[in-house]
Each structure stands twice: as C-alpha cells, then as structure tokens.
C-alpha cells in the first residue's frame, strides 16, 4: 500500500515498475503473520462482536450436541418412559428429573448426575431431550449439505458467469433463469413423492435444489460490478493472475454475500424439512427431524393442553435457536471477511503496517484508499 514512498528512496531495479521488498521476513515471521491474519484476528473479531459471539456459540453448541450428544444421551425409544411426563418433573430444584448417583470411572467411584427425561416425554413415552439430541446430527447433516450444495454451485456458477462473461455467461445465465422459473413448491412435492428421501444428505440436496440459482444470479451481478472497479482493473494491469485477483480482490467482497446466502439456504432447508415433515409428506422411521416432533406434538393436541406443550415448545425453540445462531454467525462473518476489520484486529498488520490499530480517523481514510 505504501510501496510508492519506498520505491523512491531505493534505487530502481529493473524498470520503473519493479518493486523490491523493503525488508525480508523470516519464514517463521511469515507463518506468524498468516496465522495472525487468518486465525487469530478472525477470532478476535468474533470475540469483539456480540452478534458473532452469540452466533458462533450457538452454532458450536449445536455441533457439539450433534457430535457427542447421541453418545451421552439415551436413544429415544417407544415406551422407554411414562407417557407425557412434564419437563423438570417435581420442580427444577429437588425434582425427580435428576438424581445424584455414583458412577464408576476407571475403577473409581465418582459422584455423577443422572437425568430422567429432564425435558419430559411424548405420548408414546419417548424423552423429548433424547429426541431433540438424537435428531440433531441428521438436522446438521441436512443443513450442512444444503449449505455446501447451494454455496458451491451458486458461487461457482455465479462467479464464473460474472467474471468470464461472453458465451459462457449467456449459457450459465440461461440455465440459472430456467431453474429460477421452475415452480418451487410443486417441484419439491413431486420430487419428495418420487424419491421419498430418508437420507439427510439427499433430503438436504432435494430441498435446496432451487436455492443455488438465486445465489448464482446475485453473485454474478456482484462479480460483474467488482470486476469493473478500478482496483481490479489495476490488479489486472499489473499482471496478477486470475486466481490471485479472485482470491484477493473478488472473494473478500462477495464473501458477506455468500455467507448470508448460505445461511439463508440452510435456514430455508430447515424450514422446508420441518414443513414437509409437519405436513406428513416425508416418510420417517424414527424421530429424525424436529419437524416430525412438531407434527406429532401438534396432531396430538400439543396446543390444547399444558400437558403436551413442552413437546411442541422444545423442538420449536431448537429450530429458532439454530436458525438464529446461523444468522448471527453469518453477520459476524461479515466482519471476519472484511479485510479492514481483520487487519485492525491483527497485531502483525498493526506493527508492520503504517497505521495505528486504534485510530478511527485513520481507518476511515484507509477506507477511502480501498
């Protein structure tokens, strides 16, 4: 950024445009900077932003539940407990939903807390917590599949069309238009009826089959705009390779966009799957989705009596929390992908660069440079 000044003080190498590093970095220093800029700084960004912190905590929390939960919590089974037990039976403190016992750990007896259907049970005697936890891995797999599918396809097609232009752009844009004009819900209903998908991966893809097109269309426009900005033209004029331009100039600018689209795709697939299970359009062999829980709770009068309200509320809260976590996470990621914000939080950039990290007027003028 400030190479201009220095090049004047140095003897020109080969031709006026040649640049020479003002100092050489040791390999270790280089790694430290990379680590700082790409790992530590994002972490700091996240830590300093409330939304990002909550979002990340929620998403990580769900991932943890999804990964280790099923191993810790008993599998939900018909008839494993009395029917329609309320949550925290007997009161939150002193209730019969938990029990202090001893467990044997490597031959040692250690105090242990045993839970008995802490969130209550449903009308066939399955624990609600148990169901929510055991449905989580499948929910996450489905959500992640959908997110990946939409993002990969949407970004690739959009960026390719926007950046290359010409015939390829026309071709890809036509394809995107066609996918966009397909009637979504009927198509979905037909596909679901035909495939009767039970695997969360297949379900994730089927439910987001149209989502990528909107994203591709948006990314294409974004890339078109960025492509003709002066700094990208300059990079090109300087002879930077296309991958380098894409990585350094284009991606950071479209990342917030990609993130929010990805998260939206994920949320859509949560709602779509919940909706389809709720309507009873998808087959299920066990409680594989919070939508199944909602459907069963609703159809058994979860709205009518307090006895069954927890059965409806728990999956609902799970859906809201996951959806909210994803959104907050995406918003936080906005800042992580913003090079300015990241640079501000990276120690190495602050030291090595010429701007003090804390000075806000400086940052503002920096914005002008970009």
């Amino acid at each position: 950024m400030s190479q201009g000044n220095q090049s004047e003080t140095k003897p020109a190498g080969s031709g006026g445009f040649g640049t020479v590093a003002d100092s050489s970095l040791s390999r270790r220093e280089r790694y430290r900077r990379v680590l700082d800029l790409w790992v530590v700084a994002p972490f700091r960004v996240v830590w300093n932003d409330v939304r990002a912190r909550i979002g990340t905590a929620l998403v990580l929390g769900f991932v943890t539940v999804g990964v280790v939960g099923p191993a810790l919590v008993a599998e939900p089974r018909v008839g494993q407990a009395p029917l329609l037990v309320g949550p925290f039976r007997g009161g939150i403190v002193g209730g019969s939903w938990y029990e202090v016992t001893n467990a044997s750990l490597f031959g040692l007896s250690v105090p242990w807390l045993a839970f008995h259907w802490p969130l209550g049970t449903d009308n066939v005697g399955r624990g609600i917590l148990e169901q929510v936890v055991h449905a989580t891995p499948r929910m996450l797999t489905m959500v992640a599949t959908a997110g990946l599918f939409v993002t990969l396809l949407g970004t690739t097609v959009g960026a390719l069309a926007g950046y290359t232009g010409g015939r390829l752009d026309q071709l890809l844009s036509t394809a995107v238009d066609i996918v966009l004009t397909l009637p979504g819900l009927p198509l979905l209903l037909i596909l679901v009826a035909l495939l009767e998908p039970e695997s969360p991966v297949v379900l994730g893809i089927v439910l987001s089959l149209q989502g990528w097109a909107g994203m591709a269309r948006a990314i294409r426009s974004q890339v078109l705009t960025i492509r003709s900005t002066s700094y990208v033209e300059a990079s090109r004029a300087m002879g930077l390779s296309t991958p380098a331009i894409v990585a350094k100039e284009i991606v950071p600018n479209i990342m917030p966009f990609v993130m929010i689209n990805m998260v939206n795709a994920m949320r859509n697939v949560i709602f779509a799957s919940v909706g389809l299970y709720f309507l009873g359009l998808l087959p299920f062999s066990e409680v594989v989705n919070w939508g199944v829980m909602l459907q069963l709770a609703y159809s058994n009068g979860g709205l009518l009596t307090l006895d069954a309200a927890h059965w409806l509320l728990v999956p609902m809260v799970s859906i809201i929390l996951l959806s909210m976590g994803l959104i907050l996470f995406a918003q936080g990621m906005d800042r992580v992908f913003n090079p300015r914000v990241r640079a501000r939080h990276a120690e190495t950039t602050a030291n090595g660069g010429d701007e003090p990290a804390e000075s806000s007027p400086r940052t503002a003028s920096l914005g002008g440079d970009l």
């Binding site: 066990e286 159809s299 009068g301």
Partner: protein
C-alpha cells in the same frame, strides 16, 4: 319443547355433501339424523333394535319384515312397505351384502306394512340382520326410480353414482334446512313417529376437519357433542366435568395388510414373522390404552374387548397360534423361507432387503403413535420399516394398490364372526386389494404338520353364512384357523370408539344404558328420548 340447537361436527364440507348414498360425497354421520335406518344394533351385544322396521320374522326360506307405521318422508308422504322394498332392491342390485342371500326378484310387498323377502338359502339371523343394518331409507323412489328400472332392464345403472339431489328428502327425525361452506343445519321433523321424544329445535354440524379442531371445539364448548373421535387422555382430562364420554366397542381395529403380489410380503412365513415380531400389548398401550385392546389370538374374530371370541373358538382355542412376541420364532420362519440376516438386516437369497414404508392414513393420531411402536419392533428385529402417514392413503390402497404393507382395519365392525372372516378371506377387498388367493391350503385345525387340505374360501364362507348353532361354531373355527395360519392381514388391535356429549345443556344417559351403544349416541338417543335439551 325448547329452541335449543344440538351442535356437532362434520369432517365433510357441508356445501359439497351429496345425499345420494351411492355417490362419493355422502356424509355417513350426518345422514344418521336425516334418514331412518331399517334397524339399529347394540354394538356390544349384537342386539337388534327396530328402526323403519318394527319387527322381522326370519324363516328357513323367507323373511317377513314389518314396517312401523307413522314414518313420513320429509316431503310429506307416508313411508310404505313399497318404499322399503324399493330400497332393498336397489341395494341388492348395487352389490350390498344382502345380495349374498336375497335376489332382487324375491323382494315383494305383501301389504301396506309388510315386505316379504325370499332367501336364496338358509341364513343365520345375525347374518341377515347385519346385512340390513347399514341400510337407511334414504332413496325416495321418485328420485331413484329410473336407476332401479335400469338395473331391472339390463343389470346396470349408469349415472347412479353421479346422481345429485337438490335437497335430501329424508325420513329421520331431522329435516334438512341448508348446507353452507361451514355448516349444515337440520330442523326437528314433526311427522316423525318419535318426534315427541325430541324436545329441541335443530341439529347443526360445524365443519371441523381435523381431530385438533374437534378437540378444541369440545374444550371451548362450541359443540354439544361429537359422534366418534379418538381423544388422547390428556385432552380428555382437560374437558370439564360436564363433558360425558360414552365408550362403544368398534369391533374393528388396526391390522397390517400385505400386498400379496409382492415377492416378499405374499409369503406366509414373512407374514407370520411380522406377526410374531410386533409386541401387540406395547402397541395397544402406545396407541392409547383406554381405547385399544391388543388382539389376543390373531384368528380374525373380533370380541377381544370382552373375550367373546373365546366362546366361538371353544375347546379349539388352545390349538391356535397366539403369536406371543417371539423374535426367535420369527427368525427361524424367515430362515426357513430362504432369508438371512446380513449386517443386522434380513435379506433374501438375491440380496434384497426386507424393507417397506408402513403406510397409514394421515391424521389418525392413535395409528401414528402405534405405528411408531410397530416400526421400532420391526427395525429392532432387522426389517427396515419406516412409518409413512399418507395423505393419499385411500386412493393408494383402493385404486392403485400402491402399497407394499399398510395399516388397515382387519375386522368388519360387527361382532358376529362371519363378517370379519368374510372380509379377510372372501371380500372384494381381500381379492382385489390384498390380492389374497381364493383357494388356500391348510393343515387340519390343531395339527400344523398334518396333511394339507385345500379350502375354497368363497364356498366355505357362503356355507358359514347359512349355519347356526354348533355347525356355525365348527365352521367358524375352521375358517379362523385359515386366518391364523395364512394371515391375509395381521390383526393387531381392537378399538373402543369414544363418543362425547355435554351435559350442561343436555340430559342424557351414560354408557351403561344399552341404547347408548348404538351408533352414535347423539343420533340414536334423541329417538328414544334419552338425549333431551334442558330448559333454557
């Protein structure tokens, strides 16, 4: 006399209702108030009660039916024996069960109030009367004459199912007033012979399509009663004390139907294995303990709610396979049939897995709960079943047979065993929906390894229809044995229907009164003066 309206619910859109009993939009339940049945029956005791027919005399070769005087069509004309004979002929031509024992030409009018019916062969009283039971006087001759004429001319009556009526001309204690999008209204009909017992002015049906809406309506007192609706305990308990439940045996319940055209589920061993795997006690508990009893011996006979099937089986009871849950037995049956367990799942010799979506009608809460128990049992055993509550259930099952294994009622809703046996072994359904063969081979009763005998199901069921006493018992046991061995369906549970009447504005009886066990209390009890409005 009060100006009260008894408000109840209907799951049919009132405006789309068609009061042509041969069409698709006939509202069975509402029709019970608008039309008079020929006879009524107490579902717990199979005791028959008069309706349009005052009395009946069933002989070896003919039956004499006496029409009760005082009935009128809502248009004003008196109901005569002629009307009854007309209806019987139309029913027989249309394929009603009565046609198995009566030919339409043998229905004749003896005098103003007497119909003579010639029998094709001797028939048990219960078989004849149960065949009459579903028939209501709902086809005014002036509207339906052309169809009977067509039937009599060449055996066909095209257009009968599509026939529409501007307004129903009924015979029941309530006459049609109007049908709108959300409500059907009928008013007290003064010329009904039991009108003196009815002291309220109107009957009104609100369109409440789902169970949730009906529960909600009863909770909020926007209806005065519901004819028959499964209600989970927690919801029943949330109703006030003024809501009275009347339980009535349905003589009906969930079974598993197999598509016998399927390479796996047409096999006797596979069907028997499925029956062995499912824990019926747990199933009944899961589906709702109060409303479901497990089938004790899967032999096609109803009566598990009071054990009355045991009387029919008599000493042979112990010879029947009770299919107590036994996964080892199921496993050996499957191995015998060439299946092997591979990675926890049963596969056939070609490596195809035993798997199916278990299709049930969407919105049937008790079946959805029970279905989860069934699917869990099957999965634990190694059959990859999944639960599929389907919106298009009836179309899939009846029209296209787009199913492999599904849940369906196994019994016929009547306590007398002939009907359920006939439904399982010889009906239209068993032949064209289950694709069950018309001839089967069975070992002698109680000797599973004995020499096989070939049973022509149609002939034997016709024979059973005509038998009484010990002969009927003997034949019932033989055919129940066929069901027990071949399982055209796997009988699992028997249901208790739940009917609801509120008592804050209404005087009514409890389930102990034998008239309360007639389908359904809110329709039958007013005729007997046992459901009356309290003074306003």
């Amino acid at each position: 006399m009060t100006d009260r309206t008894f408000v109840t619910s209907t799951t049919n859109v009132p405006k789309d209702m068609q009061f042509n009993p041969y069409g698709q939009q006939y509202p069975d339940r509402a029709a019970l108030a608008l039309f008079e049945n020929l006879i009524y029956v107490n579902e717990a005791t199979s005791e028959f009660m008069p309706g349009v027919l005052e009395s009946w005399d069933i002989g070896e070769e003919s039956v004499t039916l006496s029409v009760r005087e005082g009935f009128h069509w809502h248009s004003g004309e008196a109901v005569t024996a002629e009307d009854v004979a007309f209806k019987l002929k139309l029913e027989i031509h249309d394929g009603a069960a009565l046609g198995n024992v009566v030919s339409p030409d043998d229905v004749s009018v003896a005098d103003e109030t007497t119909v003579e019916v010639g029998l094709k062969r001797a028939v048990a009283d219960e078989v004849f009367l149960y065949s009459l039971k579903p028939i209501a006087l709902d086809t005014p001759p002036e509207e339906f004459r052309e169809f009977l004429d067509a039937y009599e001319a060449d055996g066909k009556a095209p257009g009968l199912t599509e026939k529409t009526l501007e307004e129903p001309n009924g015979t029941g204690p309530f006459a049609f007033v109007h049908a709108r999008n959300q409500e059907l209204v009928a008013e007290r009909f003064e010329d009904h012979p039991d009108a003196e017992h009815v002291n309220f002015a109107r009957f009104k049906w609100n369109y409440l399509q789902s169970n949730q809406k009906q529960w909600q309506a009863l909770r909020t007192d926007t209806v005065d009663g519901l004819d028959n609706i499964f209600t989970p305990d927690n919801i029943a308990q949330s109703y006030g004390d003024h809501v009275r439940e009347i339980q009535m045996p349905a003589n009906w319940g969930m079974g598993i139907m197999f598509n016998h055209d399927h390479e796996h589920y047409g096999q006797q061993n596979v069907k028997r294995a499925v029956q062995y795997v499912i824990d019926r006690k747990k199933l009944a508990r899961t589906a709702g303990e109060k409303m479901h009893v497990p089938v004790e011996v899967p032999c096609g006979l109803p009566g598990n709610f009071d054990g009355s099937y045991e009387d029919w089986l008599g000493d042979s009871l112990s010879s029947f396979d009770a299919y107590e849950t036994d996964t080892d037995r199921a496993a050996s049956l499957l191995r015998e049939a060439g299946f092997s367990k591979d990675g926890g799942t049963w596969t056939d010799a070609d490596g195809k897995t035993l798997s199916f979506p278990f299709k049930i009608p969407a919105g049937w809460n008790d079946w959805t709960a029970g279905g989860q128990s069934i699917v869990q049992d099957l999965q634990d055993f190694g059959i990859e079943a999944s639960l599929n509550p389907s919106q298009s259930f009836w179309g899939d099952i009846n029209d296209g047979q787009k199913y492999v294994v599904a849940g369906l009622g196994w019994a016929d809703g009547k306590l007398y065993p002939y009907f359920s046996l006939n439904k399982l072994l010889n009906s239209f359904r068993s032949q064209t929906v289950l694709n069950f063969p018309s001839t089967v081979e069975v070992p002698p009763l109680g000797e599973p390894d004995g020499e096989l005998r070939s049973v022509d199901l149609e002939a034997e069921l016709q024979e059973l229809a005509g038998l009484t006493g010990d002969a009927a018992k003997q034949k019932t046991q033989e055919l129940a044995w066929v069901v027990n061995r071949h399982l055209p369906m796997a009988p699992l549970m028997e249901k208790i229907d739940q009917s609801w009447v509120t008592t804050d504005d209404w005087n009514t009886v409890t389930g102990d009164d034998e008239d309360a066990i007639v389908d359904y209390p809110q329709y039958y009890l007013p005729r007997e003066g046992k459901l009356t409005a309290k003074p306003e």
